[in-house]
Symmetry: C2
Amino acid sequence: MSGDRAGTKQFDVGIAGAGQLARMTCLAAWPLGLRVGVLGQPGEPAVPMAAGLVEGDWQSAEDVARLGAVSGVVTLENEFVEASALAAVEAAGTPVRPGADALARVQDKALQKEMLRDAGLAVPRFMVAASADAAVAAGEQLGWPLMLKARKRGYDGYGNATCESTTDVGPAFERLDAGEGVLVEEWVPFVRELAVMIARRPSGGSLAYPIVETRQSHHVCHEVLVPAPSEPAVIAAAGELAAAAAEAAEGLGVTGVEMFELEDGRVMVNELAPRPHNSGHYSIEACETSQFENHLRGVLDLPLGSVALRQPGAAMVNLLGTYEGPANPTIGAPLAIPKSHLHLYGKTDVRIRRKMGHVTALGPDADTALDIAERAAGEVGL
Amino acid sequence: MSGDRAGTKQFDVGIAGAGQLARMTCLAAWPLGLRVGVLGQPGEPAVPMAAGLVEGDWQSAEDVARLGAVSGVVTLENEFVEASALAAVEAAGTPVRPGADALARVQDKALQKEMLRDAGLAVPRFMVAASADAAVAAGEQLGWPLMLKARKRGYDGYGNATCESTTDVGPAFERLDAGEGVLVEEWVPFVRELAVMIARRPSGGSLAYPIVETRQSHHVCHEVLVPAPSEPAVIAAAGELAAAAAEAAEGLGVTGVEMFELEDGRVMVNELAPRPHNSGHYSIEACETSQFENHLRGVLDLPLGSVALRQPGAAMVNLLGTYEGPANPTIGAPLAIPKSHLHLYGKTDVRIRRKMGHVTALGPDADTALDIAERAAGEVGL
């Protein structure tokens, strides 16, 4: 009788964070007998169902080191944890997955784009501008409108600016530059945004979840349709591109790959998320193995689980805050909508557009599922 | 923005117990934003993912009262909690679901059988014997072999005795009688054991999960096939009988109904479980709403969720302990079996035939699923 989690550590897996992604990962861990610890503060979404809390801040290298000391493997729920802090965890003998070097490249959007381009993968044309003048010059080359992006810590549109002409560039550069210049990208006239989760493990093996369409509202992921309603050739190209991107990024566990679909059917990588991702939440009910369970399997180098859809279609609608104040969700009304599945994140305070939860629905196709999920989401009142 | 869990209590639901049924109920509660507290000891299966622990014993009326004081609704994971302790919780203003009166009838196998018979439902012929001599006399009437059952606290075959002839009765009666006599039942020559979960809520509405076949090993549930391979007429009769039995028992949340299928197609109720039940574990993956989620919905009087199967067939195999000692399950090997789902209960010590976890598989039919689940279960090494 010898188990395969030789660990003498308090946690099988430690997550540098304690938000909703950590919460759903903890819920996926218990049935497998896995103990997941989280790094954060009491009151955060993942704390009540985690195997334990390392009280601290993922922005503190010292706190990340304390998480590493009590975890068999360290992973993350956001890509902003300092790579040097993660490298120190590795140096102290605890694996970090994805690895610190890989995360260093992904967490800097300029390095990420260079890495993807150097791997021969389709990305929007881009440059790194060290000054506002250089960004204006880049705009003359790449055309207008022009995207400016902070190299680090951007998410949900924070850290991005769309410049219509040269006059917008100065203020945008000033806001986004943290001393290392900004990423400047051509505007991509996409017809649809696509995303896919790729699951990988250290000893080899990669699985691609279905390609989905993501719809944003104010730069925040709002709705996900599964599968994306693209042509088969586009789906196939997106799957190949995403798998190659996750491999180039040395993703472990799950990697979210956001892509643009162009009018002529070409597909480009927009951004990578080296962790569970909002565009994969549908997988809890819709797939044989959720993104959260496969993230755990992947970072622990366990066999990956099937990513097949259980029904032909699915959809996810985010519950984005519509007011400021204490959260008091209604649950009876959404639960009365057949075939919808409610997921609340336990956040005590609502803020405008804050991710408070999501609703998933399955159905014969994505549009039918979306109708159901939208109706249920509309009843929660957050 | 007014939510529908008006509760000012610490927990939305309190469970008098902290075993694997409470554990899986807690895991089902978090996505709905529900806080489930458990009554038990540190180290029990449900403690790490419960919203909180009321340290104590479900056999102590005082401890059950403390659970009631901090819970919006009290429910159970076993039917042995003293009905008087639950009545005191009700008297103090906290609903108990199912109610204390209903539980008083179900927890006494003699009263349970009388209640079912009085409702006109098919049960084996039975008598209550106040003495060994009376039990022998009952045997002359009901025939041999004869079943003797303790009135209270029997489970998994503990509390049952099969008497082949009069000479077996004396020792069996002595072992099983707790001063109120024993239940004596005719031996039922069943061809198959059936079970079904019925979900009910206080304001009305009842849903029946699929009828399943249960296979026992040494009186412990070992395997469950979904759906049962019985004739459609038998399935229909079993569904009606079970729904009527759960109604007669005033079940709330989910009620497990165990039945015998006879050679001539007749169906009889064997026993009720007024709570989530081992024969319903398959529903976590196999049904649109698990028995645990519907138990929560039912006891909170929220709309019940669809109990439809996601695939035509499913099977569950219990992981029953095969040795005595510390638990050290292997998880990589079972996770490598496609389409199987592992559920460990986090028990630190293995005992012979102790329920350590279970494996579920889905498939085109129950037998195919059973093959998969058996293979995966065989790899865990508990």
